[in-house]
Amino acid sequence: MMDKRTEDTLLEVEGLRIEAASQTDVRSVLVDDVSFALKRGEVLGLIGESGAGKSTIGLSSMHYTRPGCAITAGRIIFNGRDIREITETEERSLRGVKIAYVAQSAAASFNPALTIGRQVCEVVVRHKLMSKAAAKARAVDLFRSLDLPNPETFGQRYPHQVSGGQLQRAMAAMAMIAEPELLVFDEPTTALDVTTQVEVLAAFRALVRERGTAALYITHDLAVVAQIADRIMVLRHGKMVEVGSAETILHAPQDDYTKRLVAERNAAVAEYFVATSKGDDTTVLCMDGLVASYRGLPRVIDNVSMELTRGDTLAVVGESGSGKSTLARVIVGLLPRESGKLVFQGKELSAALAQRSREELRRIQMIYQNPDIALNPKQTLLEIIGRPIEFYLGKPKKEIKERVLELLRQIELPESFITRRPPELSGGQKQRVCIARALAAQPDAIICDEVTSALDPLVAEDILKLLRRLQEKYGLAYLFITHDLGTVRRIANKVAIMRKGQVLAYGETADVFSPPYHPYTGLLLSSVPEMRSEWLDEVLYKRQVSVASVVSS
């Protein structure tokens, strides 16, 4: 006799509570009172910011917790059995076989020394579920349905020989090989470029639908989850905020937090920055035919020309490998240019950092992508923000402290933070400190290298607002390097689109993004996920028609 529940319910989680023993011996609750049920063939999206407990819940469905954490209450019923009560042997036959996991970074999850095929087949061969030959045939079959190139020979390649998007799909094949009943996707497309994300997402969706596998899809991007999930659960600080069908959550959210998330995501797609012209055309930085490469390798920056005027925000957009971050390194002199001109306020800058004057260095500041490593963890905020003031402006100690306090007010942090060190701050607060450090030098131009991509959407939104406010106040010029078109539209009045070291399109934001645009611009624009569930189908349809011309160019 089967329990009534088990007929269509695959996974049922009740009152789940997961705690971590922190260094101070005080137990902190990571997940608190979370309950949900997953039917066979259903996809449940888990949405939330970092620290919301999404991944912890995903892993707990396999009865796994990260070291130092433990499930302290609740039931996890899989196929009618509480997996908290099964033996270790049973658990081993469950993991990878009945429940499989797709991690965020395939590059970090594959063993670089073994072929992809061997790693994909490992689970079924080790569990003796299949012969090697049968496993190989199944793998080829999966490679084919995941749209991987040359499915017959794909398994013979090593992880470094395939692209990031292909490796991510290979990881899905690894998860699917034992035909699990439940798949856990943990941010599987977050590390990919937008254009690649579309393909991978489409492959995942086809796979899940074709085989009727139930899945937990963990992501922070509402638009991504809209394409694949039947139902969505919104999490915050380890607690459930809202659960409902994808339609309800995306179009009629009830909770305030969900509403804010949805509004932010809508703004990213719809809103265009209205260029507030300062009536000031002073050129701050002028690049003319810049060329650079790393030691005899092909050019990373190839004949790049653009201009930055006072009060401008020039966004440099491109996917990984487009040379956009290298451009920043060339401008600041970390990578000396090979040819071309770099004129800063009417004066040509030396190619190498060492030959530039202190005054030139002061006027161009930089803010980094990852605030966790951009600040020395052993220094206080007074030392971090005060150092540029001391170094460039040579102010006495008392004046430095006053100035640091003033900067803290401007970046909206309490004055008491002056004695804190970076590990005591949150990600968004750290990025604010980076901004303050750049401002402390009283620069004319700030290079922002992916400054919001490591932050949660709502935090990133606040950082962008802060940057805009500071720009209006000081007439700063920003060179904004990003891969996120949503950010570009909201902050930049000018944009340059880069691919393989070259500028494909350059001009006022509205012009570059209005048709007729460069085909690659079109591809980028169409790849930004929208919160309509039919978006992916539309894109895929359009791609079949037009993508060939872009890829071949």
């Binding site: 530039r356 020395n376 450090r437």
Partner: protein
Amino acid sequence: MRLFRQKMPFKALIGLLIVIISISGAMFAPILAPYPEADVLGRAWAAPSAGHWLGLDNLGRDVLSRLLYGARLSIGLSLLITALSFTIGVFTGFSAAVLGKTIDMILSRAVDLLLSMPALIFAMVVLSVLGTDLAVLIVTIAILDATRIFRVSRSLAMNIATLDFVEAARLRGEGLWWILRREILPNALAPLVAEFGLRFCFTFLFISALSFLGLGIQPPNADWGSMVKDYSAMIMLGVPTVFYPAGAIATLTIGINLLVDWLVSTSAAKH
């Protein structure tokens, strides 16, 4: 008990106790020692008595006094040499990591050259050519030891130098000294302190080994290594005196290791 805001486990406490006893023995040797270290007080190999707790040695000197004075030379010298080798090793190691490929290449190959020869044999050659002067001994061992510290600090600094805050300091136009001292050193301190403890042990044993071979500290000055050498022959005749200096070396080495194990594990936990 807490050190560096961490609770100390039992083993580390024992280590700390041993180290404190040894160091205070060395520091207060003139007060604690019942006799001067080089005075002949009676018959050679006299058995322990109320006047001489650990007996007399091969020349009739008080063993306890020599042990206390020996601690001064053995521990003080190791401390001096380790500090010197760390100064050299950390500075060159950090510089190699920060200053780019050419300088890294020159320094690293020079270190490889020194490392390619067994340290003890190399030290013996240098000491027998230049004489067993204390200054020569200190500089020789410090330089030999610095090669190991160079390796450690270079790899530590390599990891730290790739972080953006170091790049931010370079973009600001900071000089080498600032980057080494303010950006890199504070972040490498925990593993370096642990390394200091380990190196101190090795230096200590190294000096003992050299003294045992007659190339280290010269008589009549007492040190634990040469005491082991002088007394070891008598073990055949049932005189246990050799166990006192040998036991002192072993105990202090174990004590320092216990302390260092704990330092390494706490610094590893932080990273």
